[in-house]
């Protein structure tokens, strides 16, 4: 009989940049069980938001994740603005959209590089990261920082686009589009890439829906779901763009979805530049936000980002809850790992584009769905009682009076 081998990986490990611990049980070369230990990046962001006012909390929220910082801050702000009943100026919505799509551009290019690195294709890693610099240059030009842009503020944006910026963005879009067409061609026609990634990390359409996958992972399983289309925000209702799906249900599909989404993002940026209205970039916001609750949704590069905000009429939020996209994808990842080879685990883990700093939120279930919080002793008693009712009563077993060892 073969013996199962348990391999612990992490928290510090060479493949990913962030700490996470994977306990992988192997039978031969195949993964039969994958256990994921996260929480190393838990800093207590949600709690610290409760002791800051809405402006200060914005800067904390922006630092939930360094890659999708604009997604988190926009998601948080659209909730707060909804509570306050303030509509942001149209020009500000355009600028937020442009930033959101620039972020998607650089995040997808970054992911493509990391995916290349995980399968030993380091040339792709270097290529995409070089191209990504073009996007970061634009971001640095527009807001002064390469990551954590700080462009958002309550009621609008802090900086306006100048005419010369628009020319620069157009030039960058042309260059990225040219480079991306090369990657699309590579993804769709390169035999080696297809051979390496096809059939790896399978996630069927049913499983994707069952485990609540979001973003490119869900779309690569053939589900046409995109918050920008399903529940549009900012100016997405009027923008023509395609929701990219692919139904190969494997890592290969996720590559294709992401490279094609880069082209869609460029399309959206161009639309925004063409149709940008003149006007203010910031609306007046009240200092105190009226009491109420709001759930706001945003399509981050990794999938749907959900923020819940509860206001109590003061200038300090009572509760801010962040449900980052990576958090939703963990469950499907644990499912994907099962049945694949150990050698495929790095690319399967990387394929959901995991972001641990997004994920590591603490959750306490308090009276969820009418249930009580139970402690260990209560569960133990429940277990004993449950099996006693089925006729298995261990306490009635009579032990021999004297046992000879």
């Amino acid at each position: 009989m073969s013996k199962n081998l348990v391999i612990p990986i992490g928290p510090q490990h060479p493949s990913l940049k962030e700490p996470a611990c994977f306990t992988i049980t192997l039978e031969g070369e195949k993964v039969i069980e994958a256990d994921i230990g996260i929480g190393y990046n838990h800093r207590g962001i949600e709690k610290s938001c409760e002791s800051r006012n809405y402006y200060q909390a914005l800067y904390i929220i922006e630092r939930v994740c360094g890659i999708c910082s604009h997604s988190h801050s926009t998601c948080y702000l659209s909730g707060v603005e909804k509570l306050a009943g303030v509509e942001i100026p149209r020009r500000a919505a355009f600028i937020r959209t442009i930033f959101g799509e620039l972020e998607r551009l650089h995040s997808h290019l970054l992911w493509l590089g990391v995916a290349g690195h995980e399968i030993g294709f380091d040339t792709l890693f270097m290529y995409t990261w070089r191209d990504r610099e073009l996007v970061l240059d634009i971001l640095a030009m527009l807001c002064g920082n390469r990551v954590n842009y700080g462009i958002n503020t309550l009621g609008g944006v802090r900086r306006d686009l100048e005419p010369q910026h628009i020319d620069d963005i157009r030039r960058m879009c042309a260059k990225i589009e040219e480079r991306n067409n090369y990657y699309v061609n590579l993804a769709l026609s390169d035999a080696t890439l297809a051979a390496r990634l096809s059939g790896v990390g399978m996630l069927s359409k049913e499983d994707a829906l069952k485990y609540g996958a979001v973003g490119p992972v869900l779309r690569a399983s053939g589900v046409k779901s995109d918050t920008r289309r399903n529940d549009p925000y900012l100016i997405y209702p009027e923008i023509p763009f395609d929701v990219i799906t692919y139904d190969s249900c494997d890592v290969f599909g996720r590559v294709v979805v992401r490279v094609l989404e880069i082209n869609e993002s460029i399309k959206i940026i161009r639309y925004c530049l063409d149709n940008m209205p003149d006007g203010d970039i910031i609306a007046k916001m009240p200092r105190k936000i009226p009491a109420g609750e709001v759930v706001s949704r945003y399509e981050a590069p990794r999938g749907e980002d959900v923020h819940f905000i509860k206001a109590n009429g003061t200038d300090i939020p009572e509760r801010v809850k962040v449900r980052a996209p990576s958090e939703a994808n963990w469950h499907s990842m644990a499912h994907m790992l099962k049945g694949d080879y150990l050698a495929d685990t790095p690319i399967i883990i990387a394929a959901i584009d995991p972001c641990y700093s997004c994920t590591d939120r603490a959750i306490t279930l308090n009276n969820a769905a009418g249930s009580k919080r139970t402690d260990w002793e209560a569960i133990r008693k429940h277990g004993i009682e449950f099996y006693r009712n089925k006729g298995v009563d261990v306490s009635r077993i009579l032990l021999p009076e004297k046992i000879n060892y």
């Binding site: 928290p11 510090q12 490990h13 060479p14 940049k17 962030e18 700490p19 929480g39 190393y40 990046n41 838990h42 800093r43 207590g44 962001i45 709690k47 610290s48 800067y59 904390i60 630092r63 939930v64 994740c65 360094g66 890659i67 910082s69 970054l110 590089g113 890693f125 270097m126 990261w129 070089r130 610099e133 920082n145 390469r146 990551v147 954590n148 972001c355 641990y356 700093s357």
Partner: protein, 191 residues
């Protein structure tokens, strides 16, 4: 100085191998650290190479404020590295805790857990800043003795010169003693 130590010092200056650890960062600085290794900035032209294992690395590049969960792990990784070793704190959070400084799950900057040789502030620290920090760290290696574990207080240049002389003399003595002992052992075995 011992020729072997000279060689190690030369190699470290010419090709420091780094290991990157995220102690609870937001990802921004991590990406910038990796960015510094990619074609636009290309830290590899200074001989810097990223390694996966702490046992192979000379410089521990840390990002982010230290969370409760990573504090022990960070210490472990630092202990696994071979002497002489250096720690570079990249980003404001790594330097002081930054915006996360007063969060309940955060211990503070990297120096709350392990000694740090170079601080590179910024949110996020730009690749140019990271390169500048690493180059400055390397240039300190050139003209100073390797940093001792417990800092020594030196009052005058003469005191320093005496100390260095003493250290060298002590090294030479141990070497010659060892050599003589070994030779005596070999002689015994031969006999």
């Amino acid at each position: 100085m011992n020729p072997l130590k000279k060689l190690i010092k030369w190699a470290q200056r010419k090709s420091p191998w780094i290991i990157h650890f995220n102690a609870g960062a937001c990802n921004g600085c991590d990406i910038e650290v990796v960015d510094a290794l990619t074609p636009r900035f290309d830290l590899e032209r200074f001989g810097v190479l990223q390694k996966g294992s702490p046992r192979h690395a000379d410089v521990l590049v840390c990002t982010g404020a230290v969370t409760m969960q990573t504090a022990d792990r960070l210490k472990n990784i630092y202990d696994q590295m071979a002497e002489p070793k250096f720690v570079v704190a990249v980003g404001t959070c790594a330097c002081s805790g930054g915006v996360f400084g007063d969060c309940y799950c955060v211990k503070g900057g990297i120096d709350a857990v392990i000694p740090v040789s170079a601080y590179i502030p910024g949110c996020a620290a730009r690749p140019e800043a990271i390169i500048d920090g690493v180059v400055k760290l390397l240039s300190t290696l050139e003209d100073k003795k390797l940093q001792p574990k417990n800092p020594i207080v030196i009052n005058s240049e003469k005191e320093l010169a005496d100390m260095l002389d003493e250290a060298e003399a002590a090294e030479e003595n141990t070497e010659t003693e060892n050599f003589e002992e070994n030779k005596a052992k070999e002689d015994n075995e031969n006999a």
